[in-house]
Point group: C2
Chain length 525, copies 2
């Protein structure tokens, strides 16, 4: 990809900035060739990658180098787009929102600084991936479990900062963050919580600061570059039981949610409960063309045939309990009795006890896996996906209503419907996975129109997305319309105060510094 | 109390401002007489109330009135000190940090806007007290339990914003906040989380915003005036079991914490576990003079006699489990077995089942009570108390070390030692309650010196306070010394951007707007 420079920066000025940054990190860690720019493009871009081009990438090895780079970014007016490991697939991967931004690749900062099995937490740098942390825990044979997203290629911190979710009792990853270190846009370093006191041992244990608490203000944020953070981990339980329920009909999701959510809210179930539809299983069994080889959505009669052939319910709920065996048994009886009110078939029961082997693909036990990426093969060609991800109240009425709404819209575009709901407490995260072949321009054109329609119609129904792809960050921010966009106004005021040159991640989540507010219309999908 | 005006405001200018504010709220709701000022003084002030004098108080009835008052405060350069119900006893009550600030009394905004038993949350205005909410839940016979602080005189929102704690599974009150509405220092109104979209039903259910999340940035904060918030409530369990353990020796607290904290972190115990020392029971049995009538601390031999006479352990742990009976039973067996390793005597067991009456003073069941205020009578005269409240890791080593440290300091001032620890997860909140007679100047002088010593010595040991009294807000902020006070620097930068005239709560938690930074040395105790 050819060079695109940031607004009002000439190629010569950009080159001077890159040379200055090379003085900080060494020239091997400034990546500014056409091939480098390709490497940092969005591999799943819905459209040409050139729509979200990085000017270059630079990879620091320490907090001090991050500080120096941030100061140079101010001096040269070259904005930085921080990524942890750049694996935010479906939401933009490593590519920046604003054309010409320099990707600040934190992948080299990959130290596990603390790993404490007694108080069950770790302190990591952004470059630490789920697989890295998992291997370290295994190597040290520590009784700790992680919470991982479906596809665990990425960074532990990066995923938490982007509000990623997993399927364990620690599944709301941003809520596991405790004590953050961030480099501010002026190059200063701040530590939140008890870490604001030197060497305070409660930094990663007590989740509040003395005074205002900003940990979550650094998530989905362009207020600073998070350089380390504490993450709470799950103490390994002595036993665990999986209850697998096949739920026959699409319309059953209402009672399923009305059965499970109260048990989740009461604390009987502590896991984030994942409710995926049948396509989640099918993508692991082959490619789409093996089951339906015509364009357009798989028709309903064929869906029903496939469910019968493969003995699948429309939804499958693999619910997992954790803890001491007598407690788990007592909980399981209550769950089974509650589900039996609407479902005759008893669940499959899979016990695990301390010392038993764990399957490689057990996200509900915190084992990192990249199996869900199999999905990209489903459609064929250069397969990719996007997720449309609104949040709804965890009631059958809202979940069913949202399911029907998105299904109707997706059907009307003749696209396969593949939904999941994850009950995280009082809310459910709905992900509508949209798969497409990047080499089929008409598929991409459809996807973009469909995505717009989903955002707009879902907002009309009153729901908002909890994260989104680069190309829709502004459109989604537009849907947050209370008091004429008060939240954006507030965010931009704080942004301008902390970052007068707008050099950290301009446009992130639709929040623009005044220096680049004129760019908000560019790069929209 | 005579009029003290804010810095650089003459009595005449102040009067003009008060008249303008009366134009918003009506003249009955501007309270500016000497008697009014007394009413808003710190009833527990360690020293003369005149040290933290309000200029007046003004009580709005709506968000719109708050906006109008904030705009007038900017116009007249008269700062506001928001209080919910002004019951922050031991930390300053309703009094402002900066002399002459006008107390913004939100007590009239006392509507319960939503109360949802299915998703277990409420939406309340700041004037709603724990007793108000409790009565409304009882009146509607809803299966909801609250979490209340020991003394529940105050506001539900105010307590959560000040990082108050309770003794239920919802005991970390700030973490129950979900979706905040705040009037900003410029009079604008913002809603966080999904409330940034008009009429989004997930506002008080999903705890994150699209983009940065600022809910906790409005706690212990002067960045805005919180005018309503969602608060998560506990679904009423079908049964509950209290296990009461008497712990004989002061030095036992180490193994107690090492037994309970892992069960709390693993989720077997979901309650915040309160571990008070014996004096918490004694203050309910009479006055200090009934047990020891000499000045100075009660000597150790007399403490041992009292414990024997009253059949008290040095500590008492009243642990409570909640949920379905078979689950509670299974959990109880595990806890009893764990405690039995160090304690021969089995616990007293008190079962409660749905429909049973609940005692009026059951903080572990979320019943609001003012019984702990009894403490103020212990010392006699105009009794008052202050709490020295550091946070430590929830391990025996840290808890025991902190206990011994504060005990040594308190002993050296010849003052009674009355400590408690609350295990909130990976951390424990330590409160050292210091009781004094406001009519004994030498007691007050001792208290102030003691409090300074506690802050300084505890910070040297590496621990910080999670909240403190007005007079020590700056001193405690001084202990947060990482990177030359980076957290304060960051806070003050944000503060100045949002509040250029510094009119919301200057000095709150040691954070001063530039307009009043010259006042930071005034009002220190």
């Amino acid at each position: 990809m050819k060079l695109t420079t940031p607004p009002r920066v000439s190629p010569q000025q950009f080159d001077v900035a890159m040379q200055a940054m090379a003085g900080v990190v060494g020239k091997d860690w400034v990546m500014a060739s056409d091939a480098d720019r390709d490497a940092y493009a969005d591999a799943y871009a819905p459209g040409p990658q050139e729509q979200w081009p990085a000017g270059a990438a630079v990879a620091p090895a320490s907090v001090e180098e991050v500080q120096a780079l941030v100061r140079l970014a101010n001096e040269h007016k070259v904005p930085l787009w921080p990524v942890a490991r750049g694996k935010n697939l479906g939401y933009g991967t490593a590519a920046p929102r604003m054309a010409g931004s320099v990707v600040l690749d934190l992948g080299r900062m990959n130290k596990i600084l603390e790993l404490d099995d007694k108080l069950a937490y770790c302190v990591v740098e952004p470059g630490v991936g789920f697989f890295d942390l998992y291997e370290e825990i295994q190597r040290k044979k520590l009784p700790l479990w992680m919470s991982v997203p479906g596809n665990a290629w990425g960074s532990v911190i990066g995923n938490a900062l982007e509000h990623g979710i997993g399927y364990t009792p620690y599944g709301l990853h941003a809520r596991n963050l405790c004590g953050v270190e961030a480099v501010l846009p002026d190059g200063d370093v701040v530590r939140t919580g008890m870490g604001a006191m030197k060497d305070n041992p409660a930094w990663h244990l007590f989740p509040m600061s003395y005074g205002p608490t900003f940990d979550l203000a650094f998530t989905q944020s362009n207020l600073g570059v998070v350089t380390k953070a504490g993450i709470w981990l799950q103490p390994a339980p002595e036993s665990s039981l999986e209850l697998v329920f096949d739920i026959p009909e699409a319309g059953d999701v209402g009672w399923v949610v009305d059965t499970i959510a109260p048990l989740k809210i009461s604390g009987l179930i502590d896991q984030n409960v994942f409710i995926p539809s049948w396509l989640g299983k099918m993508v692991l069994k082959g490619q789409r063309k093996d089951f339906w080889d015509k364009p357009g959505a798989i028709p309903e009669w064929r869906v029903q045939e496939l469910l019968k052939e493969h003995k699948l319910g429309y939804w499958q709920v693999a619910l997992r309990l954790y803890g001491e065996e007598p407690v788990v048994k007592a909980k399981a009886e209550i769950i089974k009795a509650a589900m039996a009110k609407n479902l005759k078939a008893p669940p499959a029961e899979n016990w695990w006890r301390s010392g038993d082997p764990i399957h490689a693909y057990e996200t509900t036990m915190g084992i990192p896996s990249a199996v869900p990426l199999q999905m990209s093969d489903w459609i064929g060609g250069r397969g990719a996906h996007m997720g449309f991800s609104p949040v709804v109240p965890a009631t059958g009425k809202h979940v069913q209503g949202q399911m029907e709404l998105s299904r109707k819209i997706i059907d009307s575009f003749d696209v396969d419907f593949y939904a999941s709901f994850t009950i995280g407490g009082r809310f459910a995260n709905n992900v509508n996975m949209l798969m497409f072949d990047r080499d089929q321009p008409e598929q991409i054109a459809t996807m973009k129109k469909l995505f717009n329609a989903l955002i707009d119609e879902t907002a009309k129904a009153g729901y908002g997305e909890y994260r989104t792809h680069l190309g829709w960050m502004d459109r989604v921010m537009d849907t947050f319309d209370f008091n004429d966009g008060a939240l954006r106004r507030f965010n931009e005021k704080v942004k301008d105060a902390l970052d007068p040159n707008g050099i950290i991640a301009p446009g992130k989540q639709g929040i623009w510094p005044s220096a680049y507010r004129d760019q908000a219309k560019e790069g929209r999908a």
